[in-house]
């Protein structure tokens, strides 16, 4: 599962800042879940979320660092993670949707 996730998230690495060897990543919201639920990226990576559900979702970090507006179907949101850490987030509309970005 994890290797599949990494293969999925390594796209567009060439666009990232070379110094941090960042890996830009994509997370989708589908069937009321984040997928993948847990990913690890390098500092400086930009994560893109895309909502595939007909119901809006948000991306809201537990510590308030990032929070998207309501994303309608096919809307996207991006956040760049500069500092290492474990970032837990939820959909504020459906708080059972929980996921984590690990930056290291």
């Amino acid at each position: 599962m994890k290797s599949g996730i990494l293969a999925c998230v390594l796209l567009a690495a060439s666009l990232s800042a070379p110094a941090a060897k960042a890996d830009d990543a994509m997370v989708v919201m589908k069937n009321f879940d984040f997928s993948p639920m847990d990913i690890t990226v390098a500092p400086g990576s930009t994560v893109t979320w895309k909502n595939l559900d007909g119901e809006p979702h948000t991306v809201a970090s537990r510590d308030g660092l990032f929070r998207s507006p309501a994303l309608d179907q096919n809307d996207t949101y991006q956040f760049k993670f500069d500092k290492p850490g474990v970032y837990k987030y939820i959909c504020s509309i459906h708080p059972k949707m929980m996921a984590t970005i690990t930056v290291k």
Binding site: A60, R67, D72, I93, K96
Partner: protein
């Protein structure tokens, strides 16, 4: 479809035998005398509209403005209109200013004297609900929860979408619970109480968050009253329960239906054939009649 046709359809919908009638049993209803004396028998005490989701534009209903307009036409065509309309939230789909502005413009066509609105989770996706409260915050001094009396009935507006529990159930939070206890304390048990909020105040289906964390505690506060009606939206379909003197009832949306509890991956918009959609959208009307509060659900079909 012409206005005249709409009006005829509306009258047909609201006629005897339309919808489902729920009647409270037991309790003390003396305060309803006031409501009954105020007009002819059958004048609605209030009307509930819910989940207008202005801004939604997907296949389940590409014209939510149109269906809200038809709903408003139906209400305005009622032979005896209520003075109050309660909107139980999800006014907007994505909390956008433009969506609220459109909704406000449409709702202003309602020929009623008072509109009371509580937020749904779609109205506060920014967190504090800035756009919602800028328009609807005044009666509650921007808290969202407040109470008022009308025709002898005590109405309580609650907000259960801004302290949502980690398991997805709605929540009031400590401050609002304390306020609610205080608001109900010392009130005569013979006064009818109507409580309205967006998410169901009793657990309908926990895996989808269809309930409120403090639901049991809230029911405990209401149990001593002779007539209690608890109204919600959120699930876009009618589900009701009677527990002692408390009638719990969820309203239809004016925008789109949702699946029955547990059917499919989650509570998203339900796509139905276009000719079935009007029968799944509508409003709830409450009438004080023969010392009882009756709810009638009319559809746009």
């Amino acid at each position: 479809m012409t206005d005249a046709t709409n009006r005829r359809d509306a009258l047909k919908c609201l006629g005897v035998g339309a919808g489902t009638l729920f009647t409270l049993r037991g309790g003390v209803f003396s305060a309803f005398d006031l409501a009954e004396a105020q007009g002819d028998m059958g004048t609605p005490l209030f009307l509930q509209i819910s989940d207008t989701h202005i801004g939604f534009n997907k296949d389940a209903n590409p014209d939510v403005v149109g269906t809200l307009n038809r709903t408003i036409d139906m209400v305005n065509a009622m032979p005896k209109r209520p003075g109050l309309v309660l909107h139980t939230g999800d006014v907007s789909h994505l909390s956008k200013a433009s969506e609220f502005d459109t909704a406000n413009q449409l709702l202003s066509r309602l020929k009623v004297s008072e509109l009371h609105v509580v937020p749904g989770e779609h109205d506060v996706t920014d967190g504090p609900g800035a756009e919602f409260f800028a328009r609807f915050g005044k009666p509650s001094n921007n808290r969202g929860y407040y109470s008022f009396d009308s025709h002898g009935v005590h109405f309580v507006a609650l907000v259960n979408v801004m302290n949502v529990k980690p398991n997805g159930l709605g929540g009031l939070g400590d401050d609002q619970m304390a306020w609610l206890k205080d608001d109900l304390a010392g009130r005569s048990a013979s006064q009818p109480v109507v409580v309205f909020a967006h998410m169901p105040l009793w657990t309908i289906y926990e895996p989808w968050g269809w309930g409120t964390g403090e639901g049991d505690e809230i029911a405990g506060l209401l149990r001593r009253f002779g007539s209690v009606t608890v109204l919600n939206g959120h699930i876009h379909q009618i589900v009701q329960k009677v527990e002692g003197n408390i009638l719990f009832h969820t309203a239809r949306s004016t925008a789109y239906p949702q699946p029955q509890a547990g059917s499919g991956p989650g509570p998203g918009p339900l796509l139905v054939p276009a000719d079935q959609l009007p029968g799944m959208l509508g409003v709830t009307t409450a009438v004080a009649r023969k010392k009882k509060l009756s709810l009638t659900d009319a559809t746009l079909a």
